[in-house]
């Protein structure tokens, strides 16, 4: 039983269904991320948990209590918004103290807890400033302090880092995660940024068009995507048409047209029961380019032709043509640059470890349920 439970939650706006029958268990103290492209229903889901939207169907429980009919101000939640939403007419200290004023906390305790919260976000010296006199990063930290000072049952964060510039965003995401770990509050984080999701979460929920595509630990969704959508959404992935030939011991044997037969560990194809049409998924960083004459190693190697190079400084993204005859495929590889990048038109050999590949059954419209452990 999680701290937050969604069971068969549906949200419709008129004829449009923004969230389709979603069930989700969010364990106490965990950090769960709703990840998906714009418009997939992340905010809608979060706002239903917050009580800012009523679900059309289904139940939402917080700490074992059904909260569908509980208005937001009685849910004891911390809410952090993309645009900080600090009260512009109140000082930083007054902002942080706001929630405590509605909680029978004595004056002295309010002062102490505000101070502690400001120390938690490392901004105790700004207590008497007004929000307009703070930078974006500072404002977001104050918003976080304001949300956690009330010791909420659940912390809900809707793209809290999106309004910050890139460097600050990475710094803040480490800090945010640290604070969450320190106070151990169950957190639901919404983002469309996959690196944020992978870096911060205990569980990632990948969503698409109002449905859960996959729920799992960051490594799990990254390494063994449950669907083509997940594979494509998380990082740069090559997805090749394949034919599963069957299982031999602990190996799943696959044929990709125009390429040599490939055996991958069964654990990398958990959704593939046996023979049948499939998809082979290889992450762009797992494909390594080597000179054609490099000595053989434990990796599978196929000849390839560099079609385009996208130079990125310390790494390069290569667009390669592999395969033979009619059956050629364009794949991309992201490699660190050693001495010099490979050149356009160069013949290379491209290598991959079988355990870095994953396979999916073809055309599994991977909709509906899914639940975090």
């Amino acid at each position: 039983m999680g701290a937050v439970n969604l069971s068969d939650v549906v949200k419709r706006f008129g004829d449009f269904t923004a969230v389709h029958r979603m069930s989700l268990e969010i364990p106490e103290g965990s950090f769960l991320t709703l990840l998906g492209p714009s418009g997939c229903g992340k905010t809608t889901t979060l706002r239903m948990i917050a009580g800012l939207l009523d679900p059309s169907e289904g139940d939402i429980d917080i700490n074992g209590r059904r909260v569908n009919d509980l208005p937001i101000h009685k849910r004891n939640l911390g809410l952090v918004f993309q645009n900080y939403a600090l009260f512009p007419h109140k000082t930083v200290a007054e902002n942080v103290a706001f929630g405590l004023r509605y909680r029978n906390v004595s004056r002295a305790d309010i002062a102490r807890r505000v101070q502690e919260a400001l120390e938690l976000v490392r901004l105790p010296h700004l207590a008497s400033r007004y929000p307009a006199a703070l930078s974006g990063g500072q404002q977001q930290r104050i918003a976080l302090a304001r949300a956690v000072v009330i010791e909420p049952d659940v912390l809900l964060l809707d793209e809290p880092l999106s309004a910050l510039d890139a460097n600050l965003r990475e710094e803040m995401r480490v800090e945010l995660k640290n604070i969450q770990k320190r106070i151990g509050v169950t957190s639901v984080f919404v983002t469309h940024d996959q690196s944020e999701a992978l870096a911060m979460s205990d569980q990632v929920v990948v969503m698409s068009e109002g449905r859960i595509e996959q729920v799992g630990a960051p490594q799990e969704v990254y390494n063994t995507p449950a669907s083509e959508f997940v594979a494509r959404f998380l990082g740069a992935a090559n997805i090749l048409p394949a034919e599963a030939r069957g299982i031999e011991g602990e190996t799943m044997v696959l044929d990709v047209p125009g390429l040599p037969r490939l055996g991958i560990p069964r654990s990398r194809a958990p959704r593939l029961a046996g023979a049948g049409a499939a998809r082979l998924v290889i992450r762009a960083e797992k494909l390594a380019l080597t000179p054609v004459d490099a000595p053989a190693d434990d990796r599978v190697s196929v000849p390839a032709m560099v079609e385009a190079v996208d130079y990125q400084g310390q790494s390069a993204r290569y667009f390669l043509r592999i395969g033979e005859g009619e059956n050629t495929h364009q794949v991309q590889a992201i490699n660190m640059i050693d001495e010099r990048p490979f050149a356009e038109g160069e013949a290379v050999s491209v290598r991959v470890r079988p355990r870095d590949c994953a396979a999916l059954p073809l055309g599994t419209a991977n909709g509906g349920g899914g639940s975090a452990a």
Binding site: A50, I72, H73, L77, P88, H89
Partner: protein, 261 residues
Amino acid sequence: MGWNLIRLYAVLVYLFMFLPVAVVVLLSFNASQFGAFPMTGFSMRWFVALWENDAVMRAFRTSLLLGLLCALISTTLGILASLALVRYRIPGRNLITTVLIAPILVPEVVLAVSLLLFLNFIGIGKSFLMLLAGHVIFTLPFVILVVQARLVGIRRDVEEAALSLGASPRQTFFSVTLPLLMPAVAAGALFAFTISFDNITGTLFWKPGGVETVPTQIFAMLRHSISPEINALGTVMIVLTVGLPLLGASLARWLSMKRGV
């Protein structure tokens, strides 16, 4: 050359607009019996005369009471209407907005006459309350326009943050929405007060017998003679209707500067 012409033209326009006002103010300090140039000396006698004129003071008190009540009622109604129109999805929102704003667009005389006829029709005679109601109808659109404009700019997520922190919708309104709305509320109240204080057309139609406001009093006095007292009264009105909003505006600016927003 061209620029100088434009400058000259601008100066002339300003002179045309403000010279009469300046003349009134200047002549109100004239010591002479006659409200005309040349001035014979500086004197406050016309202001003293005003102070001692019972009819004028009565009109002044009526105008003040009317203006204050009108500001209070218009502002309260205006805030409620704006909240309903901006924050809630109510059916016929556009129609309601148009109807509320319409008194600005309808010629004042038409509105004055129709309200009079309507109230006669349903059998309510002229009274101070009716006069007040008329003024509220006139001033409400201004209040709604300013308050609505400000309310649109108050982000919903600030209110949602307050709710999430445990404030009930009512507490959220009083601790977040209203304070943020305050500059517009103050501006709306000032508008309402000055418009009501200035109003003559509607007032002439609606006022019960024997009741005069400052503008109708001036109007009545002008029918007898052009006394320099009128200049003094005009000066007082200018100070009130121009000075008050200026004061309010600088107060609002000072408040917001303190917060740095």
